[in-house]
Symmetry: C2
Subunit: 423 residues, 2 copies
C-alpha cells in the first residue's frame, strides 16, 4: 500500500461536523495501510469573511499583506483537522505551505509553484504520522514571503505534493460525485464520467467545468499523477483522471467526453486595428504585461477599403477592468480606434478525442445549436475541443441540446447522484 | 528620534474601526520621526472562538496543533493592520513570530522565548517601513514548530523585540489609562500611578494586577527597557515603568505603590506530611515535573505528638486539577495523608519600597483588615510586598480598607479616567 494524497475543499470542512467526518475518512485510509497526506482548504466562508474584513480597512485588497491575511484560513482548518484526527487516536501533524516546502514565485495572490521540497512531510510520514498541509499557500523563493496560489490553489497544492512524494493517487474530495458529461444543474440527464484522459479533462476544465481546474490537471499530466475526483459525502467511486486507455472503443472513432459551459468570461473587442504585422502582438503584450490570461482569440477579416480590422478575445470577467485599463494605456502605441466590452456572453464547448478527424462532429454540434435557435458569435477549436460563444441567456438551452444530440443523456430522468451542499 | 515598539491588545483591534484607529496612531508615531515596530494580539474574541471550535472537534485542546490553530488569530489582525496603514499611504509589512525571529523552547501553549533574531524586522525598518509583528507566537528552536507563549505572550513579544532592537521605549496600549493604586472597579478612589519601578511593578503583577504580567516586566527589567502603559482610546500619558528614581521622597520612608488583589488562585493543602527533611522537596518536585507554577507556600508547625505537618500552597485555579493529579500519582513516594482543595480564596497584596524596614506597615495592613472584619488564612512577605489569603467573599471590602488606610484614595470621588470597553 502506497502513499495517498487527499484534498478536501472548503465545503467538506465547513464546520466542526464536517471536520470530524473528514477526520474519519482520513483515518480509514490510514487503517487501510496507506501513508496519508491531507491538503485542506479554508473552512466554508472563512476566506470570504477575511476578504470582507480587508475591504473594511483598506480599498486595496491585494498584495503581500492580503496573502498573509488569507492564509490564516487554511491554518485554522488544518489545525482543527489534525486535532480531530488525534481525537480518533491517530497521530497527525499540520504544516503550513512554507513548512511543507511549497516554494513559489513572488507574484502575490496568484503565485506559481516552482519547487516542492517536502522534507518535513516525508519525516512526518516516516514516523508513522498523518501529515496535514495547508492548501492554496506557499513561500516565495527570493523574499521568503507568504504567497497564495490563486484560484484552484488547493487542488494544485495536492497534485504538486503527490508528484513530489511519488504518491499512488491524488484524491480530490468535493461535494459532487465526480466529473459529469455536463453541469447536472443545467442538464438533468448528465452522467458521471468514470474515466477520462488528462487531455479531455484539460479541455473540459478550460471550457468551464468547475470540478477540477486546468492548472491542477496540467500539473498532474506533467508528472503523470492519477487524480480521483470523488464526493466527501457519499464515499462512492468518482471519476478517475489519468493516462488509462479509453476502454475498448476503436481509436479512430470520436469519443465525446462531455459538454462544458462557462458564463464567467467577458468579450473584449478591439475595434479599428491597423491590419499590419505586429499589431496583434502589441495588444497581447499589453495584456500579458498586466499579468492577465486570455482565452479565445478571433481576428475578423480586414475590410480592404480601410486597412483596419477588429480583434476579439475572451477573458475572465474579473480581469475585465484591468484589461481595459491596460489597453487604454497602450492605445497610442497600438493605434486602435475603440474598445467594446461585453459581459453577457457564454461559452459552450464539446470535448472529446478524435474530433478533428471526424468532421461530422462539428457539423452535428452546429446543427444542434441551430435547432435550438442559438446564434453563434465566435468559434474556436482544438484537437479535442470545439467551443462557441453565444448570448448568455441561451446557454442552458444550448447545453441541453448538444448533450442530447451527442447521445450523452442517461437512461433515467435524473440518474445522477448529486450530493453535498449543491455548490 | 529612536525606535519605538508599540503593542496593541485584542480590545484595541476588536473590529475594522479599531484597526483603523490603531493604524492612525501608528502612522502618527512614524510621522513624529520614530522607527515603529507594532506588536498585535488577535482581534477581540477571535482566540475564544478558535478555542470553542477546537473544543467541538477534540477533547484535547492543547499541544502543537492547538498552537498552530491559535496563531491564526494574530495573523489576521497583523495583516489587516498592515493593510490599514498602507491605506493611509505608509509602507507596512507584517511578520509572523517565526519570521520576526522569536525563537522559543518547545513547550507548546506556554513556550518561553530563548532568543530573538529580528533580522527581517531590522531590514524592514532600514527600508523605511513600519513593521507589524504577530504577538504571542514564536518558533521552536529544535523542531521549527510554531509555538505560543501563553498568558501575557503579546506583551512579552513586544518587550523582547524592544530589547533585541534597542528600542527607546516599549509602549503597551490597552483599554485603561495605566496602572492604578488598586483595581478601579473595586476601589472607586483608585489613582493612576505616573511612575513605578520595575520591582514594585513586578510585585503588583504577581499579586493580581492585570494590566501588565510579571513575565513581561521581568523581561523589561533584565534588559532595562522602559515600558509606557497607556490607553489606545484616550491618548493620555499613562504609567511609566522603569528604573527612574522614585521622586524626592527620603529613601528610608516606605513608599506604597498600590494594593493588588487576585481571585484566580486556589489553595491546596497537603495534609499529614511526615515532618522530615526532603518531604517538601518531593511535593514541589512532583508539581514542577507537571510544569505547574505555584505562588505562596506555607508550612504549618508540626504537631509534636504525630510527627506530621501540613503544607499549603496557592496556584492558578486552572492548574488545580493537574496539580491534584500529579500529587495523587506521587502519593506513595511522598507519603502524605490527604489533599484539600479550596478555590474560594482571594489574595490581597500591599506593594511598595522600603516595607521590610518599616514594621509599622505590616501592623497597619493587618489592622486595616481586622477593622474590616476580614480573617487572614495565609501570610507571605517579600522585601517590597506583603500578601495575605482571605475568603473570596471578603476581597472587595478588604482592598478598599487597605487602600484607604495607606492614604492612596484620590481626592475626588471618581477621579480616574477609565476608558475603553471596560475590560
Amino acid at each position: 500500500m502506497g502513499l495517498v494524497v487527499q484534498k478536501y475543499g472548503g465545503s467538506s470542512v465547513a464546520d466542526a461536523e464536517g471536520i470530524k467526518r473528514v477526520a474519519k475518512r482520513v483515518v480509514e485510509a490510514k487503517k487501510n495501510g496507506h501513508q496519508v497526506v491531507v491538503v485542506v482548504s479554508a473552512m466554508g466562508d472563512t476566506t470570504d469573511e477575511l476578504i470582507d474584513l480587508a475591504g473594511e480597512v483598506s480599498p486595496i485588497t491585494s498584495g503581500r499583506e492580503f496573502d498573509m491575511l488569507l492564509t490564516a484560513g487554511e491554518r485554522i482548518s488544518m489545525a482543527l483537522l489534525a486535532m480531530a484526527i488525534k481525537a480518533l487516536g491517530h497521530e497527525a501533524q499540520s504544516f503550513t505551505g512554507s513548512q511543507a516546502g511549497v516554494i513559489t514565485d513572488s507574484v502575490h495572490n496568484k503565485a506559481r509553484i516552482i519547487d516542492v521540497t517536502p522534507g518535513r512531510i516525508q519525516t512526518a510520514l516516516d514516523e508513522g504520522n498523518i501529515a496535514i498541509v495547508a492548501g492554496f499557500q506557499g513561500v516565495s523563493q527570493d523574499k521568503k514571503d507568504i504567497t497564495t496560489l490563486g484560484r484552484g490553489g488547493s487542488d494544485t497544492t495536492a497534485v504538486a505534493l503527490a508528484a513530489a512524494l511519488n504518491a499512488e493517487v491524488c484524491e480530490i474530495y468535493t461535494d459532487v460525485d465526480g466529473v459529469f458529461t455536463a453541469d447536472p444543474r443545467v442538464v438533468k440527464k448528465a452522467r458521471k464520467i468514470d474515466r477520462i484522459s488528462f487531455e479531455d479533462m484539460l479541455e473540459l476544465a478550460s471550457s468551464g467545468s468547475k470540478v477540477l481546474l486546468h492548472r491542477c490537471v496540467e500539473y498532474a499530466r506533467r508528472y503523470n499523477i492519477p487524480i480521483h475526483v470523488r464526493s466527501s459525502f457519499s464515499g462512492l467511486q468518482g471519476t478517475w483522471v489519468g493516462n488509462e486507455p479509453q476502454g475498448d472503443q476503436p481509436m479512430e472513432q470520436a469519443l465525446i467526453s462531455g459538454v462544458a459551459h462557462d458564463t464567467s468570461e467577458a468579450k473584449i473587442t478591439v475595434v479599428g486595428v491597423p491590419d499590419k504585422p505586429g499589431e496583434a502582438a502589441k495588444i497581447f503584450r499589453a495584456i500579458a504585461d498586466a499579468e492577465l490570461n486570455i482565452d479565445m482569440v478571433v481576428q475578423n477579416v480586414s475590410a480592404a477599403s480601410t486597412g483596419l480590422t477588429d480583434i476579439s478575445f475572451t477573458l475572465p470577467k474579473t480581469d475585465g477592468r484591468r484589461a481595459i485599463e491596460a489597453l487604454e494605456r497602450a492605445k497610442a502605441g497600438i493605434g486602435f480606434d475603440s474598445l467594446r466590452y461585453d459581459d453577457q456572453i457564454a461559452k459552450i464547448s464539446l470535448v472529446g478525442a478524435g474530433m478533428k478527424t471526424n468532421p461530422g462532429v462539428t457539423a452535428a454540434f452546429f446543427e444542434a445549436l441551430s435547432g435550438a435557435g442559438v446564434n453563434i458569435e465566435l468559434i474556436s477549436t482544438s484537437e479535442i475541443r470545439i467551443s462557441v460563444v453565444t448570448r448568455k441567456d441561451d446557454v442552458n438551452e444550448a447545453v441541453r441540446a448538444v448533450h442530447t444530440a451527442f447521445g450523452l443523456d442517461s437512461e433515467s430522468d435524473e440518474a445522477v447522484v448529486y450530493g453535498g451542499t449543491g455548490r
